[in-house]
Structure formats: C-alpha cells, structure tokens
Symmetry: C2
Amino acid sequence: MRLSKRGEYGLRAMIMLATQAETGAPMPMLQIKDMSQREKIPAKFLEQILLTLKNAGMLHSKMGVGGGYYLSRAPEQITLGQIVRALDGPLAPVNCVSQMAYEPCGCPDEATCGLRMVMGDVRNAISNVLDRTSLAEVTSRVDAVKTSINKP
Amino acid sequence: MRLSKRGEYGLRAMIMLATQAETGAPMPMLQIKDMSQREKIPAKFLEQILLTLKNAGMLHSKMGVGGGYYLSRAPEQITLGQIVRALDGPLAPVNCVSQMAYEPCGCPDEATCGLRMVMGDVRNAISNVLDRTSLAEVTSRVDAVKTSINKP
DNA sequence: ATAAAGTCTATAGTCGTAATAGACTTTTAT
DNA sequence: ATAAAAGTCTATTACGACTATAGACTTTAT
C-alpha cells in the first residue's frame, strides 16, 4: 500500500506552500530551489511534479526573476486526496472498487466477491482520510503541535 | 495505493480455502490447479505465493497424489492484514509510520511533520480494516449476500 | 541585455513485480 | 516397484513503472 516518491514529494511541496500561504505574507510564493533544498527533493524531479499539479489546476506560477509557485485556491479548498490522485492515480487498492478508474477484475461475480467487498472498505477508509483532510487542516495540526511544544 | 497482484492472488486463494473450510468437508483441501483455474491465476505464480504463505505459517500442505493446501488455523484466526503483510510487506504508505518496518524519512523533524501525521492516519485506517477482518468474516459476508439474492 | 525563474519533452537508469522454467521430493495407486 | 500426481525450491527472464536527469526553450525583472 505504498505512496510513491512522486506523491510524497508533491504532498510535501503543497504543505510547504500552504504553510507559506498562512504566514499572511503578501505573496505566498516559493521557488523550486527553496522547496527542493528544504526537504531534500531532487530539483528536476520536483519540477515535473509541480508542473503536473499546475496542469491539474492546483497551483499557479509566476515566471521570471522573483517567480515561483503558489496555491491556486485557499488551503481549505485543496484536499490531500486531490493531490494524490493527480500524481499517483486512483486511491483504490484494486481497480474494481475505484470510483475514478473502475475496471472489472475478472472474478466470476463481482456482487459476491469477498475480496472486492473488503477492498471497497479499504478504499473508503483511505478516502475518508485523504478526501476529508485539506491542506489547511494539516498546517493547523502542525501549528498545534509546535505551540504545545513551546508552551508545555 | 495499489495492492499487488501477488497480494490479490494470495487473498483470493486464502478466501477460497476459507470457503472450503466452512463447507464442513472432512478434508478442506484445495489444489493449486483448482484454485488457479477457478480464478484465472497463473499456476506457477500461485505456487510461489502459497509457498510464501505456508512458510509464514498460515497454510499447511499435503504432498503427493490427492494432496493440496489447507488453512493451518481456523478462518477466525487469520486476518487479511496478516496475509497482505506476508506477501506485500508493511501496510503503511510510508516507512516512517510503519509499525513493522519503521525507518526515518529524512524530514527535518518527525514530530512536526504534517505529512507524517496524515500518513499515520492512513496507516491506521487501512489497518483498522485489514487487521480486524478475518477470513471467517469475509466468507460470512459473501454468504449473506448470496442468500439474500436467492431469497428476495 | 542578462540573469533568474518556470516550461516542456525526451530519455536514461534502476528496481520491483509478474511470470516462467525446470529439476527435485513426497505420496498414492496399481 | 514404478509411474503419475502433487507440492518444493531456486533461478532467471520480461516488463513496466518509478525515479531521476538533461537540455533547449520562454518569460520576466532589473
């Protein structure tokens, strides 16, 4: 049940951008170079990932000197499920229970397939986390931990 | 968040064996050939999978004419989580939240890593399904559907 | 004009998955 | 005793996806 590196790096980048957005900075933008250095992500790989996310409509960018990437919507409006799906495809463990990429799996009868029932549960369990968690919720959880450490 | 073919085939085989066990047949055994034909699984691949499961202690086998595989414990005592872990490794999407295969992921500080918090939730969500579902529960769900179809 | 930054496409390398092969061992039936 | 049926074990291949790198191009600020 692995998350790919592409998915991991993409999530890290989006979380960084959301954190930046919530600082209230006038232009909450980050550059590839910044992000790749902070989290030790290969820059050229990250570039592709951000491009994918941009083409999926989650990021905007500014070219040229002083450019960078920023979220195209408020952090509340972007879920982790959207990010993972854009980068890694369906959340479902098997295609026959996928909402976005259904395919029959070849078992004699889907209605009475035990595997399919359980994998449907797994898909829902994953979706209940990733589709209900927004970038804003992530940053606020991080903030909560950080302040509880500073004021014990 | 894919389940590998190995995992899928292994689960299918174990569910077949559990179904067989619950028929009350005197010797609830199935042969590789039977299982591979029923669910269109490449026989030689299934062979490897069953061997892995046997070495993990979930199956016993009988060699020679009239041999085959059978569950080493009651279907109630075997969870899907055990099967998936034996075949595909940890359930966790990233190693830094894995119970059975923890590894640091290289983020600056694990305690305040937003990705890690969420992936921990995902791991728990998956585990809450797979570790709490036994083969017996799968077969009884299948039976429930089958009888509700016959008596509408 | 130049340097900084994102865009885009192609391609290489690597690794895990899926599958196949084949020689060996055990057991049953005749 | 022997042959056929079945599981055991290890090696190896084939393939594709994932990861990463390269390089030429475009846009923008100073």
